[in-house]
Amino acid sequence: MNSFKQSRRNFMQNSALMAAAFATTGVAGLRQAFADRSKELNILCWEGYNSAQVLDPFRESSGATVKAESLTNDPTMINRLRAGETNVWDLINVNNPWARKIMFPEKLIRPLDRAAMEPYFAKMAPDFKPPYKWAMDDSGEQLIGMAQRYGPYSFVVNTDKVSRATAEDQGWDLWNDPKNDKKYGILESDDWNVFNLCCIAGFDPFREHTPEEVTKFTETAKRVFKGAKVVGDIATMNQALVSGEIDFHMTGGTYSASPARADGAANIRAITPNKGPMEGGKGGISWIEITSVVNNPDVSPLAVQFLQYVQDPKVAHTVAFAEGTFNPVAQMGNPECFSLFTKEELDAIQYDSLEEEMARSVEYDIVPDYDKLLDIMTAAKREASGG
C-alpha cells in the first residue's frame, strides 16, 4: 500500500484528468469509427421502404446496418434535413415536387450519375421515360432522384352506396351536396386535405390564391369539417367504409383503398373525378415518389446501391406490396416485373383504370400559400368540434 503515494485529493484530481483525457480521445475515436460508413445506410421514407420485406435481403447481401425511419408527411421530412439532419440520412423518399423545386435548389440532395441510372428509367412505364421531369433538376441537366411508387389520389367511395359513374361525374361536388351531410369521412392528411378543400371550393390548389378564394376556402373548410362523420387514419376510413358508417371519404386513392380491396372489399374503390378546377379541367391529383441521395458530407456508398437494388423486378414487386399500403410501381413497365403481379394484386391497386385515372389527374405540387391555408383549415377543424 506504501507505493500508493497519492493523497485522496490528488487521486480524485488525477482521475478526473484521466477521465477527461479518455473522453476526448474516446470522442475522437468514435468520430473516426463513424467516418467509415461503407456498412451503414440511413433512409428517411414513407412507409413501405422501411419494411423488413424490402430491407432484409439488402441487409443480407450487403452485410450492412440499414436503418429506415418512416414518416407520413413530406414537409416534416424536408424540415428534418433543413434542421441539420443531412449528416444523418443517406436517402430521402418524398413526393415528386420536393426534390426538383426545394431540396436540390437548397442543396439538401446531390445529383446522381445519369449514365449509370438513366437506363433504369428506360425500362419503366412509358410516362417515366428519360429524361423524366420530376427526376431532373430545373435545368434538365442533373438527375436528382429515382421514381418508383405512384398513384392517383383524390377520394374513395363505397360503390354499394355511390356508384363509380356517379362519383366520377359528380366529382368534388359530392361535398357540396347538403344531402351528404354526415355521410362522409376525412382521411387526415393535412396537405392533401388542403388540396381537396380547394377543389371542393372550385379552384386550383397549386397556385397563389386571391383574398376571395381564401374566403371561399375558409367557408368550405368549416362546412366540410362540420359535415364530416369521422376524421381519421387509413384504417379508420376503410373500417368506416366497410362497416357502413360512411359512404365515401375525401383524400384517398389506390394508396389508401388498396389494403381494403386486398382484403376482399371490392366495393371500396378509389375515384378520380372526370373534371375539376385544375389545369386542363382535370379533377384528380396524383403523386409520384422520388427517392434522392441526401447531400450528406459523409454519405454512405450504399445509397446508390440501394437505389439500384429496388429497381430489380422482384424487389420492385415487393416494394409495391410492402406492408401497409399497396401501390403501382413505375417498374411495372418492364414485362419481367409486371408478370410477378397476380390478378388479385392488380385488382387491389385498380390497375384496370390506372392509366385513365393518371391521365385525368394533375401531378402533386407545392401550394405557394400552404401555411396560410393549413392554419385556416386547422382552425376550421377546431371550430367544427362537437359537430
Binding site: N79, D190, V230, S243, E245, D371, T378, A379, K381
Partner: protein
C-alpha cells in the same frame, strides 16, 4: 475547509449528481419548450429575437375552444368517475373481503394492454354492424344509430381509460377511515347518512383528492379517445399541440400552447391544493 465547502455542506455536495441529472433530464426540456414558445412562428432556431407573438396569435385565434373542450371533458370525466368509483372503492375497502384482490386484478389487468389497442377494441364493439349493433340487428332486427364518432363516446372512453387512476387512490382513502371512528359515530346515535357525511367522507378525503387530481391532470392531456372513438369530432388542446408540432411544423406555436396548458392546469391544481390543503388533511391522520 474552503469557502465553497463551508457554503455547501456534505449533503448538498452529494446531491450534486442528482441535481445535475434532474436539471438535464427534467428542467432542460421544459425550459426548451418555454424558450421555443417565444421564437418567431415556424422557425427552429432557439437563439434569436424573442417575442410574445405566438401567445398573441393564440389569444387572437379560436384555440380557447380546444382548451374549453379539454377542461370540460376532463371535468365531466372526473365527476362521472367520482360517482362510479366511490361505491367500488367502498366495496374494495370494506365489503368484498377476500374477493377484493380479484376485483382489483380485474381493474388492473387491462392496464397491461396499450390504451390505443383497448380503444380500437371499443371501436369494433360500437361500430355499425360491429359486436353491439350487429348483434342487435341479427337477434332483434333493430338498427339504432351508431354511437361511434360522437362526443358522448369520447366521455365513455375517458371514463374507461382513467378509471383505475381514480379508483385506487380513492380505495386507499376509504380504507384510511378507522372502524372505531365509524363505530363511535354510530354509538353516539349518528344516522347512516351522517356517518357518511361527517366521518367517512372527510376522513377519506386525501385519497379522493389525489384521485381527482390524478385523473383530471391525465384527462386534460387526453388525445387518443377523441381521435379513435370520437373520430376527431372534438379537437382537444393536446391534439392542437400535436398538429402544431407535426403537420403545421410550427414548433413555436405548439410550444406556446403547451406552456399555456401547463399554466392553466398548474393554476387549477394549485388552487385546488390550496383550497383543500392536502398536507393538512394528510397530517390530520
Amino acid at each position: 475547509m474552503t469557502t465553497l465547502g463551508k457554503i455547501f455542506g456534505p449533503g448538498t455536495r452529494h446531491a450534486v449528481p442528482l441535481i445535475v441529472f434532474l436539471l438535464i433530464g427534467f428542467a432542460a426540456p421544459l425550459l426548451a419548450v418555454i424558450g421555443f414558445s417565444f421564437i418567431p412562428a415556424r422557425t427552429f432556431e432557439l437563439w434569436q429575437s424573442w417575442s410574445l407573438d405566438n401567445y398573441i396569435e393564440i389569444f387572437n385565434s379560436t384555440s380557447y375552444l380546444s382548451f374549453l373542450w379539454s377542461l370540460g371533458l376532463a371535468a365531466i370525466t372526473v365527476l362521472i368517475l367520482a360517482i362510479i368509483c366511490y361505491p367500488i372503492a367502498y366495496g374494495l375497502a370494506r365489503v368484498f373481503g377476500k374477493y377484493s384482490t380479484l376485483v382489483t386484478l380485474l381493474f388492473t389487468i387491462p392496464l397491461f394492454v396499450s390504451e390505443n389497442v383497448r380503444l380500437y377494441g371499443w371501436v369494433l364493439f360500437f361500430i355499425k354492424n360491429g359486436v353491439l349493433l350487429g348483434t342487435l340487428k341479427a337477434w332483434f332486427g333493430i338498427e339504432p344509430d351508431s354511437w361511434l364518432f360522437t362526443s358522448g363516446i369520447i366521455v365513455f372512453g375517458m371514463v374507461y381509460v382513467y378509471l383505475p387512476f381514480m379508483l385506487f387512490p380513492m380505495t386507499l382513502g376509504v380504507s384510511m377511515v378507522p372502524d372505531q371512528t365509524r363505530d363511535a359515530a354510530f354509538d353516539l346515535g349518528a344516522t347512516r347518512w351522517q356517518v357518511f357525511k361527517e366521518v367517512e367522507l372527510p376522513l377519506s378525503m386525501p385519497g379522493i383528492m389525489i384521485g381527482f387530481l390524478l385523473s383530471f391532470v391525465l384527462a386534460v392531456g387526453a388525445i387518443a379517445e377523441a381521435k379513435v372513438l370520437g373520430g376527431q369530432q372534438i379537437i382537444p388542446i393536446s391534439h392542437d399541440i400535436e398538429i402544431a408540432f407535426t403537420y403545421a411544423q410550427n414548433w413555436p406555436l405548439g410550444a406556446a400552447l403547451a406552456v399555456l396548458l401547463m399554466l392553466v392546469v398548474g393554476t387549477l391544481v394549485l388552487f385546488v391544493l390550496r383550497r383543500f390543503d392536502l398536507d393538512a388533511i394528510l397530517g390530520r391522520r
